[in-house]
Amino acid sequence: MTMRPAHLKALEAESIHILREVAAQAANPVLLYSIGKDSSVLLHLARKAFFPAKPPFPLLHIDTTWKFRDMIVFRDKTVQQFGFELRKHTNPDGLRDGINPFDHGSAYTQIMKTDALKQALTIGKYDFAIGGARRDEERSRAKERVFSVRGPGHTWEPKRQRPELWHLYNGNLAPGETLRVFPLSNWTELDVWTYVLAEGIDVVPLYFAAPRPTVMRDGQIIVVDDDRMRFLPGEKPETKLVRFRSLGCYPLSAAVDSPAATLEDIVAEMRSTRVSERAGRLIDQDQDSSMEKKKREGYF
């Protein structure tokens, strides 16, 4: 195990404090588990916060049915290994209507992710939902609170955010309100990887470089994960040494050309990289301020 830099110790302490505040203030909390590296760090922190007990909240996974197969395998292994309670939700309307990323574009994200999340939070009557979002991911996230209030319908109103002082987190809710809680608010992508390395945390193998079948589309490398992939005329899968920086649904998350096959390689690559993490997330580039718009509508 690598020595943990002092600033990671400070970030870890802050995140544990936040997770304990959730346990103390919430009536029915849930942790939104997205299987990615941030979720892996979040689970690790939650285990630390409540050790020797298990974290006092279940995990919720919004399953779009288009996650990479390796992600689902990793999810089930992790849940079993640590004895977490996993709750899954898929938007039944989207499933019935056959909504998919090939035919429906941004409507797919709205229906299978945003709507599905809102449904699951409403059905579960969760008052606090913990997520792994970080302030460095995108400009509109920089102003997000740690305890972020959502109005009725899970909407986010940037101008109605509560002042957040010291380490006092106001988790009081008026009728119809819920909270999203972001314990990794002050972490960067590099912090996440350095911490994963220092703490020996397991992450989905897709983050490590391996030869994978790919096609190029609009300058992005798309990995072919199963036989649901639709090829354009003339397209043929080509094996390339690639890995992922950010994981979502398979035809929407682009891979990067990288030989980084170990955590040490990834941290070294991160230190020299000049491309943002979300550049591979095709949904964020639809329009200017697209993330802010999605957040207002209830996207995580």
């Binding site: 600033h7 304990r20 996230r141």
Partner: protein, 613 residues
């Protein structure tokens, strides 16, 4: 590899070039990825203010609304790192109406950058920013004098500004000041020394931040840990989880629960990485004690000398809500991990941050900072803010909207129950009630002037009397002739008016009586205050529901006519609001029944609730 984390507040106004400075720091430290830079070039053409160049300010002005308006409307957090340090910048806007954001950013920062426009020098807003920085306990600042290119890189201008700032220090309290002349747009003295200002030989801004050692509290203070969460997975384990606020602790040390003053020894310091031999400031731990003592969330585990247990505190309060702060109002008071009800007992002075002097006031408006006294419903372990940010910093939460409406810093503590002792009497409320053959209660009739409150209350009381019950009526108008004759109709006086009536009602409830209060009481907050005075189930909110047009038509006292003609001001329903009850125990729609019918409805409700047999 960065070896530490520095939290820095940046303050300056829209025009000082603060966003540009931050954008420049992020850019120079490699925190801006290539694809974001491409977007920045595109945005610079669309929204930018730097002709033909890259506008780094657009990197940090996050929300679409802000980019369009060209102002920063909220506090934002930015990260960057250098080979020696990782930084968190709390970026808060400088214009006056957003003081609350600056206070928010300052509350978690150890260091501050104060940005000054070299052309303008020290403005009222500079004093305001410095005052807030000082009040929030930041002791180390960099004075970044920006736009030096626009004053010809003139050292005399810089020196004049620095001298002017030093002259403020005796009114601000102790601040360690480092002054640097910069050009944020071009990067002079931001990350590299400026060739334009050879007369400046000090460190660049970035080098200063890398070397900064904030003046923190000494490490040799006694141990304190507010208990966050009791970890009790099964009967074999019971641990107290929290973050160490001050001092160090090791197994075998004796700690005291500040609330109960009961002591125990530390048996184990549990973490997932193994038990610790010692734990210190800012470490999240789970403490196991050697014996079972009563400890819950909100208690503070400490070693001698332990924190005071406050019943009342004096504090600087920064008001953050549109509705002003008044004496008599009650809020949820959150400090450390404790949450109680805090009632504002006094507001004396406001800090005029432009002149750094104090002015006598009776209320605090949005973004004002004042000296406030708060009485606490339960004792709270706390310290003055200059000793401890965690045990001396608190927030006030509105109990209806649940919003954070104020932030405070404790300046003085009055011990709980030391000067005014509560005498426990042998004859109690229950005994008196038993003798009377009834349960005491407050029937709180609320509604517009002329709604029919007093008429119905009068009928109810006559029936109670006929049934041999013991009652008392408090009428809003009548009380103003005596007990409350010193009060007018301003919002602050209305709050005090209702507080006194609630307290008197409580005394009558103690006496075992059924108390009928007929009182406009237009604000939900104040009715909640009255409700809190008595026990659960003893307060019945009775909404005498009459539309304002009907009240105006009845106008038994001719008051609506006066209000409509402007002779009477602050009149509820005309030029002052009435907040209708959301969930009253009893609602009496006067258009649907005669006063007699409605009074009978009240009597029935009293029977149903077992108040009368």
């Amino acid at each position: 590899m960065p070896d530490s984390l520095l939290r820095v507040l940046t303050c300056g106004s829209v025009d000082d070039g603060k966003s540009t400075l931050i954008g420049r720091l992020l850019f120079e430290c490699g925190s801006i990825p290539d694809d974001v830079l491409v977007a920045l070039e595109r945005d610079s053409r669309r929204f930018g203010t730097v002709e033909g160049g890259t506008d780094y300010a657009l990197l940090v002005d996050g929300l679409a609304a802000e980019r369009e308006q060209g102002v920063t409307i909220d506090v934002a957090y930015r990260f960057f790192e250098t080979p020696v340090r990782r930084f968190i910048l709390a970026d808060s806007p400088g214009h006056q109406q957003y003081t609350r954001n600056m206070v928010t950013g300052a509350s978690t920062s150890d260091f501050a950058i104060l940005l000054i426009d070299a052309r303008k020098g020290i403005l009222a807003q500079t004093r305001r920013h410095a005052a807030i920085v000082s009040l929030l306990g930041i002791r180390d600042v960099v004075l970044a004098v920006n736009k030096m290119d626009l004053v010809g890189f003139d050292q005399a201008v810089f020196d004049g500004i620095v001298a002017g700032f030093h002259a403020l220090l005796d009114r601000l309290g102790p601040l360690n000041v480092t002054a640097i002349p910069v050009v944020a747009r071009d990067g002079d003295n931001v990350t590299r020394p400026s060739t334009n200002m050879p007369w400046y030989t000090g460190a660049t801004l970035l080098a200063t931040l890398e070397r900064a050692e904030p003046t923190l509290r000494p490490l040799d203070v006694p141990f304190r840990m507010p208990v966050q969460y009791v970890n009790r997975p099964d009967h074999t384990f019971r641990g107290y989880a929290g973050t160490v606020e001050a001092g160090t602790i090791k197994p075998g040390d004796t700690v005291i629960n500040t609330t109960s003053r009961v002591e125990a020894k530390i048996a184990q310091i549990v973490t997932m990485d193994g038990d610790l031999a010692t734990a210190g400031r800012d470490e999240p731990v789970t403490l196991v004690l050697d014996r079972e003592i009563d400890v819950s969330r909100g208690d503070v585990l400490a070693v001698e000398p332990i924190p005071a247990l406050a019943g009342q505190i004096d504090a600087w309060v920064v008001w953050m809500d549109e509705t002003p702060l008044f004496r008599g109002r009650a809020y949820q008071f959150m400090l450390g991990t404790k949450s109680v009800v805090g009632t504002i007992t006094d507001i004396t002075n406001r800090l005029d941050v432009d002149t750094l002097t104090e002015v006598a006031v009776r209320e605090l408006a949005l973004n004002e900072i004042g000296r406030v006294s708060i009485s606490l419903s339960h004792p709270v372990a706390c310290e003055v803010y200059t000793e401890s940010r965690t045990l001396g910093g608190f927030v006030l939460v509105d109990r209806l909207t649940r919003n954070t409406v104020g932030a405070g810093m404790v300046t003085a503590i009055k011990a709980a129950r030391s000067d005014v002792y509560w005498h426990r009497m042998d004859v109690g409320k229950d005994a008196r009630a038993l003798l009377n053959g009834q349960k005491p209660a407050v029937l709180w009739f609320t509604g517009l002037s002329g709604a029919g409150k007093s008429t119905i209350a009068n009928l109810v009381e006559k029936q109670l009397l006929a049934m041999g019950r013991h009652s008392m009526t408090l009428d809003g108008d009548n009380v103003r002739h005596g007990l409350n004759r010193d009060l007018g109709f301003s919002e602050a006086d209305r709050v005090e008016n209702i507080r006194r009536i609630a307290e008197v009602s409580k005394l009558f409830v103690e006496a075992g009586l059924i108390v009928l209060v007929s009182f406009i009481s237009p604000y939900r907050n104040e009715r909640m205050l009255a409700r809190d005075c008595v026990e659960e189930g003893e307060f019945l909110e009775i909404y005498v529901d009459t539309p304002v047009d009907e009240c105006r038509r009845r106008d038994p006292k001719g008051l609506y006519q006066k209000a409509d003609s402007g002779q009477l001001r602050n009149f509820t329903g005309v030029d002052a609001p009435y907040e209708a009850p959301l969930d009253p125990e009893i609602r009496l729609p006067t258009l649907e029944g005669s006063p007699e019918v409605l009074a009978a409805k009240v009597i029935d409700a009293l029977r149903e609730r077992g108040i009368i047999g």
